[in-house]
Amino acid sequence: MASHMSSTIVETSSRVADSELDLQTHGMRTDDWVWPDIEPNQWSTGEGETTSGGTGTPPSQEATRTTVQCIPRNVSAPVRKDHLTIRPPDTRVKLLQQWECVISRVHEDFVECEMHDLTNDSQPVEQADVYIDEFNHFDRALLQEGAVFYWSIGHETRKTGQVRRYSELRVRRMPRLSNLRKREISRKAEQLCELLQNKGK
């Protein structure tokens, strides 16, 4: 049982948790350390230096030279990967409801949308008008017919204990399609068209 657990537990699990358990006496592998990059001009050479121009030598080239050991200066201490854990939130949001909204029409100062409940998918689709002023400035350029945004409402509790209503609108972002992908989609669309036309005959 123990070996079964240890062989499978790591893979795609999150590393969030990691309370004191992980800080105990588990062995540390050498690849658990990350050394920050060192720029060439951050290396200084000691007495006996044969290079000129003040350019230092990174350690990988050190073996091929006859100079004394290079000493890094102004270099940060190594970082252990385990220390790069997820930080806890400053505020806590209790989500009450969330919708995925599809914009059906854009007006001058509001958008019409269809709202699909993500917290309870048995709820019927609803229609709503949302003022453009409610959106983040950086999302407004993305508001167009067919665009999707998420609307979340709940309660936000700060560390001080202060509670306030929470409402957030975020527009969905997807990468631009590559030319290859566009061609693939066009080809598939053509194939579907042909299929439908043949069925209609």
Binding site: H4, M5, T8, I9, E11, T12, S13, S14, R15, V16, A17, S19, E20, L21, V34, W35, P36, D37, V79, K81, L84, I86, R87, P88, P89, R92, V93, K94, L95, Q98, E100, L118, D121, N136, H137, F138, D139, Y150, S152, G154, Y166, E168, R170, R172, R173, M174, P175, R176
Partner: protein
């Protein structure tokens, strides 16, 4: 006594992909240049470390951790779940030539128990102490991991891990794992398609399952009073 049910104190959601990554390309501006996050968020990103072996930074409410074999995207606010899923889908769409090996969906929830007694009760329910007291003094549960599957789910396995997270907190971490690299799926593009399918089709049902499961884990024994002893 069975532990009393409590509301989750906080949770984090993450998507972890195993494969061959180049951490140094993962920078906030790479994400905004590819239209995955707003430029404003990229410019105000908090960079912890960007190195050829590992990159760690946060953009908006999303935290990114990448090393040469692992890409992890995490949020610590459940309202950001859809944004996290979209970001992972977008990132993998761009990295269509990156060999992928596995993908995992994760929800980690921390519950603050009402009392130390309730906190102990969870451990006693998971790991009854009668047998252990014959071997150890003051045995205590450090971690329990249970593996299983879900009906109508194509994931290879689910892991539910329960562990103390400081007194009186209990953490329930749920991982739904998909092996992308299999004997049948040798084509890299096929693995990509499967990873995208997982994110598109399974994310929402996974988060619902995980929320239910985490609460149920703490309710074990709620209706059947236990016979174990407090250590």
């Amino acid at each position: 006594m069975a532990p009393r049910v409590v509301e989750p104190d906080h949770e984090s959601l993450s998507i972890v992909v195993l494969g061959d990554f180049n951490p140094s390309i993962f920078q906030p501006l790479w994400f905004s240049a590819n239209n995955l996050i707003p430029q404003e968020e990229a410019e105000s990103a908090e960079i912890f470390l960007i190195h050829k072996q590992v990159a760690v930074f946060s953009m908006g409410k999303i935290q990114v951790q990448v090393d040469e074999s692992r890409l992890g995207l995490t949020i610590v606010e459940s309202s950001q779940g859809p944004i996290l899923r979209d970001l992972a889908m977008g990132t993998l769409s761009i990295l269509e030539h990156t060999p992928l090996k596995a993908i995992g969906l994760n929800v980690d929830t921390v519950f603050v128990m009402q009392s130390e007694e309730d906190w102990h009760a969870v451990g006693h329910r998971m790991v009854p102490k009668q047998d252990w007291t014959q071997i150890l003094d003051s045995p205590g549960m450090q971690q329990v991991v249970v593996e299983g599957k879900r009906p109508d789910c194509r994931a290879d396995r689910i892991h539910i891990r329960v562990q103390p997270s400081g007194n009186p907190n209990v953490q329930v971490a749920i991982n739904q794992h998909y092996q992308l690299e299999t004997k049948e799926r040798t084509d890299a593009r096929e693995r990509h398609r499967e990873a995208i399918r997982v994110l598109r089709d399974d994310w929402t049902s996974f988060t619902s399952f995980a929320h239910d499961a985490a609460s149920k884990v703490l309710q074990f024994g709620q209706h059947t009073e236990g016979t174990w002893h407090h250590t």
